[in-house]
């Protein structure tokens, strides 16, 4: 069983290496193409700044890759971002927590929200998309209810280091994202946990019969999703200096787009963190590059839509030829 699985994985890895190579090539071409039109695009300053702006989506897209690799999906992450932003402000201002404690509490709440998703999915066996559509409304509603439309502002200066500061010229949150990419990448590629994620996505029944801890691993994937959404909320609040209950609205679709563009199959069983990273970078830089070239926002979203469909189309037709 394991032999079959690993050889499967090897051939799959080769194919998806191809997907990522294609995507990376497309990215490079797009970058230089756009760079030719505008000399402000390919500058260190701009690229670092784009990194700052894409961190929140990036942090969510990493665990989303795990979830989608298991054949699941989590559309509640945007709502968890909103809930966690409110929890941070509320626990600090209204409950009087010291800010460090409030931060920890926020991370706990985010993880708990993800865990709740995971429990409904693994214990009650409600399909992931249904569970998270329902909790999307629930979490967003809790954020609205707790905040009573109040924003919390005026955090101490040290807190803004996360979202606005630099370390040796690199935006702080970009370093956080780098670290997260490495951790998630290694976890998916090099650990038993990662292999179990693939096994669940390829064939959940087979994974269960191979005595893999299917439920526990799925639970962990959804909990991570909630945890990273709360981290994303911290970065966002620190960057924009205030909390709102509508924060993070629509993040779920942006994150899913990055994962899918990165070659992860929505049916589960295949995909890599590196692909997701390329996908996220591609979307961010395309938006930025087009804007700098003078393309308006509405036309930019259209281009993103076409790129999404076209890249998967190209990748799948190449793949079919090889198979």
């Amino acid at each position: 069983m394991t032999a079959v699985a690993s050889s499967n994985r090897a051939s799959r890895a080769r194919i998806f290496l191809r997907h990522e190579t294609i995507l990376a090539a497309m990215l490079v071409v797009a970058l230089f193409g756009l760079g030719l039109f505008n000399d402000r695009f390919l500058t260190i300053d701009n690229l670092l700044n784009q990194g700052r702006l894409m961190t929140e989506i990036g942090l969510i897209a990493l665990p989303m890759t795990f979830v989608i690799v298991t054949g699941g999906i989590d559309v509640s992450v945007g709502a968890i971002v909103g809930l966690c932003a409110i929890v941070l402000g509320y626990s600090w201002k209204n409950l009087g927590f010291p800010l460090p404690l409030a931060i920890v509490f926020t991370l706990v709440v985010g993880a708990a929200a993800g865990l709740a998703n995971g429990l409904v999915i693994t214990r009650i066996k409600v399909p992931p998309i249904i569970t998270t559509i329902a909790t999307l409304t629930l979490f967003r509603g809790l954020a609205e209810g707790i905040s009573q439309a109040h924003s919390v502002r005026g955090y101490p200066d040290w807190f803004y280091f996360l979202g606005q500061g630099d370390v040796f010229g690199v935006p702080t949150q970009l370093l956080v994202l780098f670290l997260a990419i490495i951790v998630f990448g290694v976890a998916l590629d090099r650990t038993t946990f990662g292999r179990t994620l693939y096994a669940i996505g390829s064939n959940e029944t087979a994974a269960r019969f191979s005595a893999l801890p299917v439920e526990r691993v799925k639970l962990a994937a959804y909990t991570l999703s909630g945890l990273m959404a709360s981290l994303s909320a911290l970065v966002l609040v620190s960057r924009v200096t205030t909390t709102r209950s509508d924060m993070g609205m629509g993040y779920e679709l942006d994150a899913i787009a990055a994962v899918v563009l990165g070659g992860t199959s929505i049916f589960g069983g295949s995909g890599t963190i590196w692909g997701t990273v390329i996908g996220a970078v591609m979307i961010q830089l395309l938006k930025n590059g087009l804007a700098l070239t003078g393309v308006k926002g509405d036309a930019t979203i259209m281009v993103i839509g076409v790129v999404l469909i076209a890249s998967v189309l190209i990748a799948s037709s190449l793949q079919r030829r090889r198979v």
Binding site: N38, R40, D45, N46, N49, L53, E56, I124, E144, G145, S147, Q148, A149, H150, S151, R153, Q164, L236, R239, V240, T241, T242, R244, S245, D246, M247, G248, M249, G250, K287, N288, A291, L292, G294, K296, G297, D298, I301
Partner: protein, 371 residues
């Protein structure tokens, strides 16, 4: 089934726990600002004590006085009639000025994170000036300050940021002025003892939250017998606004005499709800709206008065203020600014330029406007 009952019971418990004060009594706008209701009669408000300039300053902005500049306009969102009108005014002003290149670009939904990204991109692309209408006064501040620090001039209109994040703000009408116009119109149409409901976008939309708070303060002072029934949210969504307005009408039946629409989406939808329910003449619809959407109801007589400033003029003024800042004709401490065909506009509140008193559209003049 057991977990169904459990969850339902939990939801019901939550409902009971939260079943407190659905009426908006005590609404403070949720932004910790004081209210300042105007006098009940039409007397001009006492001139407020002059406030020193409290806006920010573009650092080392290149001197482009009289030269062509490129300006970008980033409204809260694109695709709604109101901001379509402001961007028309901005374009008109650019044409009259002759030395400004301007374009409007922004998110398709009123999302602050998206708006920040748009502004950030335009900072990088190197514009000379940014016009904005903020989705959130505080969240937008860091990116605007970044623009100022790069020598880009920043002028707001419609929805303000914190003062130090922009140079000037063109104020369409003061919050308490809008509140007075709305409450006085309602009292005139529905009676001094009328009970009314409100349909707004969301409780977190800054302008709407402020207006409602001011309406409450002014109502308590000048129309104490009017009864505030309930405020409901309807996003910037046509059909939801209609549904919510209908729900209020059905819930209160004969008791409800008036309905406020707080957005240019909610007001026509509310008027439609009153019309469909056959309550024209029995329930007064008063609200903020753009004329084209309200023409059918004003002509049918169902709606008597629509409160609004002219958004085309608002955009026009914002563009002129931007040009004046670049040309050095509007500096800290100035008392007025020249706004082309609009004449001279006054500086208030330190760093705001006031467009004027809110305008009330009625049957007699609504056809003169097309936006």
């Amino acid at each position: 089934m057991r977990s169904y009952l459990l969850t339902t019971a939990a939801a019901a418990a939550l409902a009971l726990a939260m079943n407190t004060g659905a009426s908006a009594a005590g609404w403070d706008g949720a932004d910790d600002l004081p209210t300042s209701p105007l006098a009940c009669d039409a007397s001009a408000p006492a001139a407020p004590a002059a406030k020193p300039y409290d806006g920010g300053k573009a650092v080392n902005a290149p001197d482009k006085a009289g030269k062509e500049i490129s300006v970008v306009d980033v409204p809260k969102l694109i695709g709604i009639g109101y901001f379509n009108a402001t961007s028309k005014g901005i374009a008109d002003a650019a044409k009259d000025l002759g030395n400004v290149k301007v374009k409007t670009d922004g998110p398709t939904e009123a999302k602050i994170d998206e708006q920040i990204k748009f502004i950030d991109n335009y900072i990088t692309s190197g514009v000379d000036g940014i016009l904005f209408a903020a989705n959130d006064p505080v969240a937008i501040a860091p990116v605007l300050k970044k623009a100022l620090s790069k020598g880009i001039h920043v002028v707001g209109y419609d929805a303000n940021s914190t003062p130090d994040a922009r140079e000037w703000f063109v104020n369409q009408a003061e919050f308490n002025g809008i509140a007075k116009a709305m409450m006085d119109s309602m009292a005139k149409e529905a009676g001094e003892d009328a009970a009314f409901g409100i349909v707004t976008s969301t409780f977190t939309t800054p302008n709407q939250a402020r207006w409602i708070a001011e309406m409450q303060a002014y109502g308590a002072k000048c129309h104490p017998k009017m009864k505030w029934l309930e405020t409901v949210e309807a996003q910037e969504d046509n059909v939801l606004s209609f549904n919510q307005a209908t729900t209020l009408l059905n819930k209160y039946g004969d008791k409800i005499k008036g309905l406020f629409g707080m957005t240019s989406v909610a007001t026509p939808a509310g008027a439609e709800a009153v019309t469909k329910a056959g309550l024209c003449g029995k329930v007064a619809e008063v609200g903020l709206a753009t004329p084209n959407a309200m023409k059918p109801y004003v002509h049918s007589g169902c709606v008597k008065s629509v409160v609004l400033w002219n958004p085309i003029d608002l955009g026009y003024a914002a563009m002129y203020v931007m040009r004046a800042v670049v040309d050095g004709k509007l500096k800290a401490g100035d008392a007025s600014v020249d706004a082309g065909k609009l004449g001279k506009l006054n500086v208030v509140n330190g760093s705001e330029i006031l467009l004027g008193a809110p305008y009330i559209y009625s049957k007699d003049n609504i056809d003169k406007f097309d936006f």
